[in-house]
């Protein structure tokens, strides 16, 4: 027993291996002396960070962190040649499904002018401060199913409010999912994918997702895959929804 108790400081300082730490945790549940000591030591230990002076966070740090996390996280797992070949193939398929179409542009123009008109009305009728905060649609994509088995359709829009940009994906007639399956939204820019989150449709087949776009991030295509669960950092399932073809 006494021998085990000697590891208290190593445990507190985080110097035990994962296995040793688990072992010591079992000891803690049996040894009242250690668990009461640990509690007291932790009080002091957790007060140590407050020695750090308050520092101003560099404003660019947030987008640096987000880019780092999401690029890094999606670059992780199978690092074989196989995987990168798959990614390339996937990218080609992705791009092919995304030919820009006139109809979208027309609708987009219509939306923009409707938006402007709306803003004009607002301008006349309400306080100016509300206008400066108003959300604007800066990008719009019509989406539709690219598989025979579904008639899902909807849109994806980028909404700008002040400095924040949010992607909104709104779909209906989505096939109901089985088990843990989820639809996952991917953005594509210069051949690089970015995960924009997952959604599961409601019983009526309606599904929605919002995603705060990091920093200055821009994308030129969007696709949706059907995934076995919502935890993937890269596409594993097949693409089921793409940008609408004329």
């Amino acid at each position: 027993m006494a021998n085990e108790c000697e590891h208290l400081m190593d445990y507190l300082a985080g110097e035990l291996t994962e296995k040793e730490a688990e072992h010591f945790q079992r000891h803690l549940s049996r040894c009242e002396q250690c668990s009461s000591e640990l509690e007291q030591l932790q009080e002091a230990w957790h007060s140590l960070p407050s020695e750090a002076e308050h520092a101003d966070v560099p404003p660019e740090l947030k987008s640096e962190v987000m880019n780092f996390v999401f690029n890094e996280a999606s670059a992780e797992s199978p690092r074989t040649m196989d995987a990168s070949e798959k990614i390339t193939a996937w990218t080609h398929r992705f791009i092919k499904g995304f030919a820009p179409i006139t109809a979208t542009i027309i609708v987009l123009l219509f939306i923009v002018s409707a938006g402007l008109l709306y803003e004009n009305i607002q301008l006349r009728s309400t306080a100016t401060e509300r206008i400066t905060n108003a959300a604007k649609t800066t990008q719009l994509f019509l989406l539709q199913s690219i598989v025979q088995t579904s008639h899902a359709k909807g849109y994806a829009a980028v909404i700008k409010t002040g400095d924040d940009r949010e992607l909104i994906v709104n779909l209906k007639d989505l096939p109901i999912l089985k088990g843990k399956e989820a639809y996952q939204v991917w953005l594509l820019k210069d051949g690089k994918r970015q995960n924009a989150g997952t959604l599961r449709p409601a019983k009526d087949g309606h599904g929605m997702l919002t995603y705060r776009l990091p920093g200055e991030y821009k994308f030129d295509a969007i696709g949706i895959t059907l995934e076995p669960n919502a935890h993937g950092t890269k596409p594993r399932g097949k693409k089921v929804i793409g940008m609408a073809q004329g």
Binding site: A13, G14, P49, A55, I111, A114
Partner: protein, 215 residues
Amino acid sequence: MTVPFFFNFEPFTSPPPCDNFKRIIEEGGESLRKKSDQELMKLIEQKHRSAFEELYDRYINLIYSYSLKITKGNQEKAKEIVQHVFLRIWTTKSRYDPNKGLLINWLITVTRNISIDFIRKEKKHEEKQQMMVAETVITQESKPFQNIHIEDAKKRLTDEQQRLIRLLYWEGYSLREIAAMEEEPIGTVKSRLHQSLKRMRQHLKTEKEGRVDGQ
């Protein structure tokens, strides 16, 4: 104020039902701010990005300040540490357990572990570092600290006790390394640290009680 723009969509898709408006607007903003730390971590586990950003907004000040101190004010290194901390939070499988204490303590533990990995890797590239850093530590003047109470509590410790805590907590030396530097058995180092921390805690406690009494 973000609601009206949706009318823009009327011409080409039927507008989503009203509670959906509310829901997406809430998920993207206000309501996340009202979520508890625990709720936030749950969402992050489900790869909810807005929740992740909310966590960043909530704790970046502390994490960055901490990283800056542990890197002795090196901004570039501090930023690198912060990036890895958030990557770990996003990808880790060892989850925050609310039964084991506050989220901030968990976050700081993650930050300290990553920082110490960095520091140790750096040390490997240096020669004779142990002696040099040890000397720096001795002569280093303590900066004005933000928290007066912990500073007071620490002042009650002897220089030697303060130094041990600094070597272990902020400088990333292992207990074994400290023992070697001190030319003491590791058991002695451990019990000294143990005593120092307990003494600190005692002073923190009396101050806290004193403050409550004083009010």
